[in-house]
Symmetry: C2
Subunit: 157 residues, 2 copies
DNA sequence: ACTCTTGTTGATAATAAAAATCAAATAAGA
DNA sequence: TCTTATTTGATTTTTATTATCAACAAGAGT
């Protein structure tokens, strides 16, 4: 498994030890592509097979993983941080998020056409871009349908 | 003052009363374009002329303003929400943020060339975009200089 | 494999942002 | 002015996250 090797290498390079706890947290995130788990959610999954691992360790591990670039911290304004794997081996794999303001559902947009914009910003502001986040807030197709249905029903009376 | 009229109208339309507290909070945010204040920071400014206004009211007011579209909530992963005026009268005035990962400074990018991307997303995902946030994380010019200086000094020995 | 050193963990307490509570105060329509 | 539903201030509560510290374990060296 290539990902796991990169993970071990990154830990090593940064001078951190490979512990069971770190391996388990890494596996949980890795096995849930497309999900955006909060620390508590990750803890709940970890607990199943490893009830001895504590919540504080999950928080610490996530912070560490973020620092050495293994995961990204996302914020959907729902009161907690959420995390996803950073695609270490594949820079072109970046994606953006659609956040439904009605049901809270989060969809992934698998495009990255910000290259020009990035180049412009880097030159114009003399700013070295390491990363970016782009979120679109709005209504998903389901909630649009639901709203139209309600509107229709209310005029049928 | 045009902004203030729009503010009053928006409150009214949504069925909320115009109170001294709401006016004061609005004025503080309006008088600080380009800043991104946290609730505590807004509270500290409000307190100067209105020590009778409580922190809870500031939190409530900010939440209300966000709901009726008067301000935007921003998140720079520094442990609290931050707010800026939403340019109610001028949709073209949208901007993005550059967040320096070294000094934490936040710069504003006064461009919005996401029109095509938005159209694509709206059509392809059947998603109604109401708003978006775009943040670039990286090194500002000052921190770049500082890093180069340190590198130079360490090789001069 | 054994030891040693230092980084790491688990349990818990501490912190801090934000929300909830509720009696008292007030905006705005009648 | 009067009335009433909203709003507020003070305070408590909630909840996410971090700090603390003794016990523990990874991994380098022997």
């Amino acid at each position: 498994m290539k990902f796991y090797e990169i993970f071990k290498q990154k830990l090593n390079e940064a001078g951190y030890k490979l512990t069971t706890q770190r391996r388990v947290v890494f596996e949980v995130i890795g096995a849930n592509e497309g999900k955006h788990f909060s620390p508590e959610e990750i803890y709940d999954i970890v607990k199943v097979d490893h009830p001895e691992i504590g919540l504080a360790t999950v928080y610490r591990t996530l912070k560490l993983f973020e620092k050495i670039g293994i995961i990204y911290r996302l914020n959907f304004n729902d009161g907690c941080s959420r995390f996803e794997m950073s695609h270490l081996d594949d820079e072109s794999h970046r994606h953006h998020h659609l956040v439904c303001i009605e049901c809270g559902k989060i969809l992934e947009v698998k495009i990255d056409s910000l290259q020009e914009l990035e180049s412009y910003v880097e030159k114009e502001y003399s700013f070295d871009i390491h990363n970016h986040t782009l979120k679109f807030f709005g209504l998903c197709s389901d909630c649009k349908k639901r709203r139209n249905k309600c509107k229709k029903e209310s005029t049928e009376s």
